[in-house]
């Protein structure tokens, strides 16, 4: 088997365990989007156009309470800002690729694809030499496509099932659990831990603010506290 093909399949396989959190999450997104009054076509299109689960969730909730478009936009951007970190983190490994590859992999750069791709880059040979190209971007592509296809399909299933997924199954809780799984292992230094705790408590305190503005305030306060603790240390 050729190296690109082998990498593509490995990436696909490495992504599979993460899909058990993504499938219910995508279904619930589809269900909630319809419940919020979004047309089925728009709900499905959002999974392709935005392709970022947590911001889709929150946009849907805001749409359901008739929040202004600008508020939805700003909230979604704040929620997705963390992808800039992923972008910075994978950038050195993608520097030799042509623009087409960079654009494609940027589109596929979700929490779950990033987690798998960066681990693969870090655990394999430390090759950043453009004169010796390797095939590891195919691994990234495999992981990204596995997630992309799963997200589109599970959204479609959610839209199709609609109200038939009972709220009593509490499948929406998989979102919180997926985020817990992503953040908790990284909270091993004081500034990160402080950023997380302060942002969380602030979000609870400001929860009653309209349009989930508390989320934006909490995020800003959390990041500031992280920087402050880091500067003090």
């Amino acid at each position: 088997m050729s190296a690109p093909r082998r990498e593509l399949i490995s990436g696909f396989k490495a992504e599979l365990p993460l899909l058990i959190g993504v499938i219910p999450f995508g279904m619930i997104y589809g269900v909630l989007a319809l419940a919020a009054g979004m047309p089925a076509g728009a709900a499905q299109a959002m999974s392709t156009i935005v392709f970022a689960g947590s911001s889709q969730f929150i946009s849907t909730q805001l749409y359901g309470i008739a929040a202004p478009g600008l508020v939805i936009f700003i909230t979604a951007v704040v929620v997705n800002l963390r992808h800039a970190l992923y972008s910075a983190s994978v950038a050195p490994y993608l520097k030799c690729l042509n623009s087409r590859w960079k654009w494609l992999l940027a589109y596929l750069l979700t929490d779950e694809a990033y987690a798998v791709a960066i681990t693969h880059y870090q655990q394999t040979e430390d090759n950043l030499d453009c004169d010796r190209p390797d095939a590891r971007h195919w691994f990234f592509l495999g992981a990204g496509l596995a997630l992309w296809a799963t997200w589109q399909l599970s959204t479609a299933v959610g839209i199709f099932l609609g109200a038939q997924v009972p709220a009593s199954w509490s499948l929406d809780f998989t979102l919180a659990l997926t985020f817990i799984a992503i953040i908790v292992p990284g909270l091993r230094d004081r500034p990160s831990l402080a950023a997380a705790l302060v942002a969380g408590v602030t979000a609870v305190l400001f929860f009653a603010l309209p349009y989930k503005l508390g989320l934006i305030i909490a995020s800003l306060v959390g990041v500031s506290v992280g920087l402050w603790i880091e500067a003090k240390a």
């Binding site: 365990p17 809780f173 609870v204």
Partner: protein
């Protein structure tokens, strides 16, 4: 129409965020403060989403043993800390939640 415009704007912004450093690598040096601040964006944003999910189920503050989501979330966090496994974290959280629900909590 407004819905589609908002959606496309979010999509373009999200793509720009994801492409940002991949595209700019080697072309522009990012200010140190931005790089440092970015490190704290994931824990801050994700906690700001998770905490209300655990502490305000149904929109009402509930810091008690009757709050199944809080207990399930805390135990799932302990599993995430120990194992770093996404699968085990989700399975633990959902299992605990279902058990507590079955017990009538």
């Amino acid at each position: 129409m407004n819905l589609w415009l908002t959606m496309i704007a979010i999509g373009l912004a999200t793509f720009a965020i994801r492409l940002s450093f991949i595209y700019l690598f080697g072309k522009v040096e990012m200010p140190d403060l931005v790089k440092k601040a970015l490190r704290y964006v994931p824990p801050a944003v994700l906690s700001a989403i998770v905490f209300p999910e655990l502490l305000l189920p149904g929109g009402h503050f509930d810091l008690s043993f009757g709050n199944g989501r809080l207990i399930a979330g805390v135990l799932a966090a302990a599993v995430a800390w120990r194992t770093k496994s996404v699968v085990l974290t989700i399975v633990t959280g959902m299992a605990v939640l279902y058990i507590l629900m079955a017990l009538g909590l």
